[in-house]
């Protein structure tokens, strides 16, 4: 076990701890959700994080994208994020891929799960299709203002992202801010871990809806 994981040791069985330290995770998009996911996943001690993005850091990113500051403006996001994460000198390997996720993207064979860090549904539908083709679980989240939704899509799931969110492709830029993004990304990490570590009560054919204005979290059945 990594020496800095002592305080979470009692939460998991020996087998679960071993599983965490073997996990290889693909984060698609290192924006608000993706940078928060990366920070959480590094802290829980996963083996490798693959960061995918093709953008450069812009001033409008800095209200919620926790791996970047003003000194990073204009830099490739995946490079700046990897440098930020590596500065903590923890043992998770960070692999940056300056690459757009397209239908032809090649997903590394060692990946255990894909995290949605995208900011639009067109890209998410491509990601969901890649997850299906590569027989990988995929954890979706979308956030707008004080509301968010999270959905775990498994290789065997009959209901894919498009079955629920068809027609959601909008052109406006959604309003987003850090506390709501951080909560959403953290729940994404928790829900993915529950599934990967074999807990019973992960999201099965359900959409988790977060209403942070009313302090409510509700499951919507998709059966």
């Amino acid at each position: 076990m990594k020496d800095y994981l002592k305080r979470q040791e009692k939460l998991f069985s020996k087998a679960q701890r071993k599983r965490i330290e073997e996990l290889n995770i693909l984060i698609a998009g290192t924006g608000g959700l993706g940078t928060n996911q990366a920070l959480q996943l590094q802290r829980i001690g996963v083996n490798k994080l693959y960061l995918y993005d093709y953008d450069r850091v812009e001033i409008s990113n800095l209200n919620r994208q926790l791996c970047y500051g003003k000194k990073d403006l204009g830099r490739l996001k995946v490079e700046a994020a990897a440098e930020f994460l590596n500065d903590f000198d923890l043992e998770t390997e960070i692999i940056s891929r300056n690459e757009k996720i397209t239908p032809a993207a090649e997903i590394p064979t060692e990946i255990d799960i894909i995290f949605d860090g995208m900011d639009n549904f067109e890209s998410r539908f491509i990601l969901d299709q890649l997850a299906l083709e590569n027989e990988l679980p995929f954890i979706h989240a979308g956030i707008e203002g004080f509301f968010a939704q999270i959905m775990l899509v498994l290789p065997e799931s009959k209901i894919r992202l498009k079955d629920v969110f068809a027609g959601s492709e909008k052109e406006e830029t959604p309003a987003v801010f850090s506390p709501a993004v951080a909560v959403t990304a953290s729940i994404q990490v928790l829900e993915a871990l529950k599934y990967l570590l074999g807990f019973d009560n992960y999201l099965k054919n359900q959409l988790l809806h977060l209403d942070l204005l009313n302090s409510q979290m509700e499951k919507i059945d998709l059966n």
Partner: protein
Amino acid sequence: MIKLALKVKFYSLFRINLKSSGTEYELDNEITIAELIEKLDQEYDGYFTQKLLEEDRSISAGAIILVNGHNVLHLDQLKTKISNQDIVTLFPPSAGG
């Protein structure tokens, strides 16, 4: 006796705007989603036509309509039939990240 009714659930801004988490209708016969929107409009002062439909009465990009968890775009769109015991879920999807 258990009451049989069509359940309509609102989430996100719909819930905030309407100060309601949903409504129920005891139906005599099947109705369509288009007819449900008319019923909701009567109860909520035209709100759902404005939120769910475009001017040409197609389904708006900013709204999800699920019948028992299935997007009506993959069913029979606004002609999708619903009846007592069905659950219709209405919410604007969150797209950002």
